[in-house]
């Protein structure tokens, strides 16, 4: 019961955030000196053409009226149409968003699987060679530019070793001979659902390099956060008490201490998740990954406001949901956290 009321209250609060973001981005898009109608019309339009388009798009109406129309469309589930390509944004996002989410989720999973155990051990053996090595790796992972990492990774695993493909989500062979039946847009899930294991392997192969490159930052930050909070937790009396009770080092580190230390790491991973959706742009470009990062960057360069607003709203939504999930996890982990 407490859980449900917490959930509803949090969703209610989130709605405020969402509406705030909506209003802000909408206003910004209208006050920035640019001419959407001219953009829509294409190269060198005549003034009467522009006027006509303004009328068609409703840009001649007062701002409040425009906003009302936009919200109405939004409530109907319609994100509008790109001024540049004149394609439906819904259709585009259905294509690009799963690609990005698949990539980002893979990167975040790598961060958790790699970063947390590494951070635990680094925290358990402070000032050891392992600690210093992971500190170096973590700082390198956080500060190395992703395009540089991408180039190095491609050079090693594609050019030199030939183990992994250069880019794309699947190989041409896969699209031709065993195409993935699109359902969710997540290739790994779609391929698994239809039992298309050849395509699944192919998609997984393509996912490895970009996911690894994208995970450099979350891995680094997960290691650092886990290490720092492990250090703190390991100095607590209950850890001394556990040692005095003769519990094994493995149980103490990975059960008793980690449960106390994991929350800060999960929090930053959650934040980096939302950040990576748009931040994945460079990685997506270098690996020819048809994702949102690339999509929104083109929209920004073209001052394509409907797309910019739509992507902003989607990212806001993901951000809200991820944070909600993390709060729930915290309540699940810590009985002292009351859901208020």
């Amino acid at each position: 019961m407490a859980f449900l009321s917490f959930l509803f209250r949090r969703l209610g609060l989130s709605l405020f955030v969402f509406v705030g973001v909506l209003i802000l981005t909408f206003i910004v898009s209208r006050v920035i000196p640019s001419n959407p109608a001219a953009l829509y019309a294409g190269a060198r339009p005549r003034p009467e053409q522009v006027q006509e388009i303004e009328k068609k798009l409703g840009l001649d109406k007062p701002l409040s009226e425009q906003f009302r129309v936009y919200v109405g469309d939004l409530l109907a589930g319609n994100l509008g149409e790109s001024y540049h390509s004149r394609r439906s944004i819904n259709t585009d996002l259905r294509l690009f968003l799963p690609a990005t989410l698949e990539l980002v989720i893979a990167a975040v999973l790598i961060a958790l699987v790699l970063g947390i155990p590494t951070g635990v051990l680094a925290g358990a053996y402070p000032r050891s060679p392992f600690d210093y090595a992971t500190r170096f790796a973590a700082v390198a992972g956080v500060s190395a530019p992703s395009f540089w990492l991408a180039l190095i990774a491609q050079f090693i695993f594609f050019s030199q070793l030939g183990w992994l493909p250069l880019g794309g989500r699947v190989s041409r062979d896969a699209t031709l001979f065993y195409p993935i039946a699109a359902q969710t847009g997540f290739y790994l899930i779609d391929a698994a659902l239809s039992g298309n294991w050849k395509a699944w392997l192919d998609a997984a192969h393509h996912l490895i390099l970009p996911a690894l490159v994208l995970s450099a930052y979350p891995v680094g930050i997960t290691i650092r956060m886990t290490q720092a909070s492990m250090l703190e937790v390991l100095s607590e009396t209950y850890i001394t008490a556990a040692r005095a009770a003769g519990l094994s080092r493995r149980v103490i580190l990975f059960k008793l201490a980690l449960k106390n230390a994991i929350m800060p790491a999960l929090t930053v991973v959650g934040l980096s998740f939302a950040y990576s959706i748009t931040g994945a742009f460079l990685v997506e470009t270098l690996f020819s990954w048809p994702g949102v990062g690339k999509y929104v960057t083109e929209a920004v360069l073209n001052v394509d406001f409907p797309v910019i607003i739509a992507v902003t709203l989607v990212v806001t939504l993901v951000y809200i949901l991820v944070n909600l999930l993390i709060d729930l996890m915290q309540a699940l982990l810590d009985p002292r956290v009351r859901l208020i």
Partner: protein
């Protein structure tokens, strides 16, 4: 026959300002079935002694000299693996503040269960039963419900009972109780002391009881060692020492206790301060505060000498026939 003997134990902490000498030659014996009180004020080395026995000192601490004989095995010479087999299993520990000594994110039952699992390969159902019995034996109401309760849902006294159950889980021979009642209020203190005494008697456990409270020593312990600045200054049977303290420091401590008859008068204090840990102490650490101080007290460290069958003190007053 002593179960646990600490001999000439020296421990120092490395700090950026130099080595802090926390223990400067601790000697005492714990006999089987006894409760030995370690008393002294904050910083005298009581807790460090307890931690040294468990080999759970902080990383910057170092045992520089001495032996800790447990059943004739020197614990300081054991490998970490051998020591691990002793912790909890043969020597267990109870801590000052149960609120911080219990893991906040695990249920009481789960924490005891973990300790049982670490020491005893019994099947799960049997372990569950053992957990319930332990919870009942420390006087916690409704053990079945206690299994699923988190530490923050218990009162301080209940938390300490749970901590005691946890320390008893592997049926240790020795329990080191580090100020187990200091964080509790007085009525609860009495209950916990009672529980400890009962369990100690029933299970024939030997206890090292670390405290700064002479009253607790009087009601709980058979033997006592009075610590001052990292050394034992006086030790022996509690009755003898409380009735007739021989070291000037113990005398000062006892004189400082408020008594019913002294109502309205100022409490007696020992003038001066405990020496700082970084100070080099050549002679008796208590010399600067001692009213009977002699020349050699500043130069030589007085050894522990026997005054009676169960009474030793480290003071030149008792070696010198002139002052004897």
């Amino acid at each position: 026959m002593a179960l646990l003997t600490v001999e000439n134990l020296h421990v120092q902490f490395k700090t950026p300002f130099g080595a802090v000498r926390a223990l400067r030659g601790i000697d005492f014996e714990l006999d089987k079935g006894d409760i030995l009180g370690l008393v002294g004020e904050t910083g005298c080395g009581k807790s460090v002694t307890g931690r040294s026995i468990m080999r759970l000192l902080d990383e910057n601490a170092e045992v520089t000299e001495g032996r800790i004989l447990f059943n004739n095995t020197d614990l300081l010479r054991l490998s970490e693996k051998e020591m691990h087999a002793i912790r909890g299993d043969r020597i267990a520990m109870i801590f000052q503040d149960p609120a911080t000594a219990l893991n906040p994110l695990f249920t009481i039952g789960g924490q005891i269960y973990d300790v049982l699992r670490a020491h005893n390969p019994a099947p799960a159902e049997q372990r569950r039963k053992a957990t319930l019995e332990l919870l009942a034996s420390v006087g916690l109401p409704d053990p079945a419900q206690m299994m699923a309760v988190y530490p923050h849902q218990l009162s301080g006294g209940q938390q300490q009972r749970a901590m005691i159950a946890l320390s008893l889980a592997a049926e240790p021979e020795v329990i080191i109780a580090d100020e187990p009642t200091t964080a509790l209020d007085v009525t609860i203190q009495a209950q916990i002391l009672d529980l400890l005494r009962t369990l100690q008697r029933e299970r024939a456990i030997s206890v090292i009881f670390i405290t700064h409270d002479l009253g607790i020593v009087a009601e709980t312990c058979q033997k006592v060692a009075v610590l001052y600045a990292g050394r034992v200054v006086e030790q022996g049977a509690v009755d003898a020492i409380l009735a007739d303290p021989q070291h000037p420091y113990s005398r000062g401590l006892l004189a400082a206790l408020p008594r019913p008859g002294s109502r309205g008068t100022d409490l007696k204090v020992i003038p001066g301060n405990v020496p700082a840990g970084l100070e080099r102490i050549a002679g008796c650490a208590f010399a600067p505060r001692c009213e009977f101080v002699m020349d050699r007290c500043h130069r030589l460290q007085p050894p522990l000498v026997s005054l009676a069958a169960e009474h030793q003190a480290a003071c030149f007053l008792h070696e010198d026939p002139v002052h004897g």
